[in-house]
Subunit: 412 residues, 2 copies
């Protein structure tokens, strides 16, 4: 499961991305660059750096449309050299030195340079424009994201490790839920457990302003509180300064408890939600949970390579409406969100989006996504199920695998 | 300490930013806008939204250079109305509706509009340009940051609450440090403790790509491992996918243990570092710790309103060099950073920067900053001290106050 150093002497076992992985990823992006007549990709965002170089440093991944990539690194150059399998890791003292270094490397300056306009700040973009005034800068966000969306078997193996950890977290949650304890307290205990089991702590989201703190735990009414986050459940949080997540509500019997946990391990994520209760739930909520599982089953039957992201969304959304959840599916009333699933990998909001507006995008083998049908009832709470899936040649397979029963803890 | 709802019924006590605070903040930014001939500020980033509206939603804080601010909100409109003290909180269904809503509010569209170019992604900026093609868009990052740098007494009170929590965290750290436990395990336990004591979880940094996970705990050699983070200490972390922070190193006796903890509470942060050891440290490290405290004392003697950020940096840096730490101060060798302190408030990297390059910027009463003289010895580890300070009319005062002794825990 782990490659790298040995733990006997107290040093850290670390999984280093193999060169064959990095090479494959660069080659696929190069195809996309050539399709768009882009001469070079200049990528700077942490998640993209990790994906294409294996090492997050303050630096620039420079990929010409033909030839070898170069990782120009400001800081830390030694770590970049140790962690990145790329052949060309080049120290750079200041951004102004970049054109000279590209030229010194025998590469022409790009006429059309592609960058990540979805995450690159305006000021950073202007620095690159000034640096290469003869270059045209274009957005290659969709190209980068579609390359990253299709996982290799190496990446899927890491995500399987994440799913193992997600199951342990969920089993531990059953031990921690007690009447009278607050959602926030359970979250603190569960997160500590997850960290000790190997969770990396940081969870990355790509979208501007998106913030995520290792998922959500909500009991009862708090599961139905909407927030700024583009998610079916938001939560009150402990302060308007965060404005989402677990709050100080005390857990009671006979109310749904949502454990929506993102496991992050060796750079990759899986997302899993289960619904629990202490003592039996009202029939309406038990039925709603069964119905959400049925919508997941519908998705499972429909999903296969070639199906458009939006078609999958529409079929499941329509089924939810037929079942009577038009006002409760994926949020309540005006707080409903218009998606049921999201790609997941290094970031929690990757391609594909199981949502309207993507009729021209289809599932591809190797894509991984979380699917999270949830029903929200203001004043009562939320129920739902979420798993992370991978697309293979015939259909989809589960990565997360925890028991999907509506889990009822004893009243004691 | 807390205003807001009562906890008796299990509802959450929440500190809501008073309208008088919000009004004062908007007025000061309006002065800055008029100085720059900017007709309106259009702010969208979470930290800025929290500061100027009191509520983080998906929305736009619109501040004309004269008149009242308007908070246009996509999601969640109900929460914005509940959490924000602003008079004008206006629902907005889509960005395209913004110009019409501004006009409907009786306001002219701005000829010069100011935005946060340091954080606004290129694609988001382009959406605003298309929306208001007749407007010129300019960067008002420095104006926003200088307004936010000067804290009100309301903000300072929250930061005092953070400092109380920081002291409890530090006291707990003394209980958790045991020979044979890993840095990562201590971090997981300490963070769980902090969350239960009220830590909000999320820690915000403004700089592009900057990531922070509630500070760092390093023992021995791991304290001297540099990382991509622009900080004197980086740490190995548990995976190159994070590339910083506590790693799996086991704590041993006679080595320096750095506890660098950021407390986040009700939206505000303080930063505090202490050095501990199990059993006595080598003389060289004990001396280095005493010298770092002496540099802090020099800073304390020099810092007062009117002193330039860079002058403060230079005096302290020169003293460190005179003391023999030229190759060890604020990192070792090529991994040294060129600052000793940083503003702190809602974000951990606010104005002022105690660094070179800011001779034209001076300390102002109400500014708050962390000052963190640290000495780094590859193969041995790091020692240092850090506190959060506020500038008053005569000089500076401490916010964080934990015992500053080099804390020696018993060997067994």
């Amino acid at each position: 499961m782990i490659v790298g150093f040995d733990d006997q002497e107290g040093t850290s076992p670390m999984r280093i991305t193999p060169l064959t992985e990095l090479t494959g990823r660069s080659r696929i992006l190069q195809e996309k660059l050539r399709e768009q007549q882009v001469d070079a990709a200049i990528l700077v965002q942490n998640s993209d750096l990790f994906y294409f170089t294996g090492s997050i440093q303050r630096g620039i991944y420079y990929l010409p449309a033909e030839g070898e990539p170069v990782y120009f690194v400001f800081r830390d150059q030694g770590r970049a050299r140790m962690e990145s399998g790329l052949c060309h890791v080049v120290p750079l003292d200041r951004l102004g030195g970049l054109p000279g270094e590209i030229t010194r490397f025998g590469l022409p300056l790009p006429q059309r340079a592609g960058m990540e306009f979805d995450v690159l700040p305006v000021n950073e973009g202007q620095r690159f424009r000034k640096l290469m005034p003869a270059s045209e800068f274009v957005d290659i966000t969709p190209q980068v994201r579609i390359v990253r969306a299709v996982k290799s078997s190496y990446e899927l193996e890491i995500m399987k490790d994440c799913a193992l950890l997600a199951d342990r977290v969920y089993e531990e949650a059953k031990n921690l839920l007690v009447v009278g304890k607050t959602d926030h307290e359970v979250m603190a205990e569960l997160f500590s457990f997850a960290l000790k089991e190997g969770h990396q702590g940081l969870i990355r989201m790509r979208r501007f302003n998106a913030e995520m703190f290792f998922g959500h735990i909500f009991s009862g009414v708090d599961g139905a509180v909407p927030a700024h986050l583009d998610a079916p459940l938001g939560g009150l949080g402990t302060t308007p300064a965060v404005g989402q997540g677990a709050g100080h509500k005390k857990i009671a019997a006979h109310e749904p408890i949502i454990v929506d946990f993102i496991v992050a391990y060796d750079g990759y994520l899986v997302d899993q939600t289960r619904t629990l209760a202490i003592g039996p739930l009202p029939d309406k909520l038990q039925q709603a949970y069964a119905d959400m599982v049925a919508i997941q089953k519908l998705m499972f039957d429909l999903a296969r390579p070639g199906v458009s992201w939006s078609e999958l969304y529409r079929q499941c959304y329509l089924r939810a409406c037929e079942m009577g959840y038009e006002k409760h599916f994926m949020g309540a009333g005006s707080s409903q969100v218009r998606f049921i699933g999201h790609g997941i990998g290094i970031e929690v909001d990757e391609y594909p989006f199981i949502a309207e507006g993507f009729d021209d995008q289809v599932l591809l083998p190797g894509m991984t996504f979380a699917f999270e049908p949830k029903a929200v009832f203001p004043g009562l709470g939320a129920v739902g199920v979420e798993n992370t899936w991978r697309v293979d040649e015939e259909g989809i397979k589960r990565l997360t695998y925890s028991n999907e029963n509506l889990w009822q803890l004893p009243l004691s």
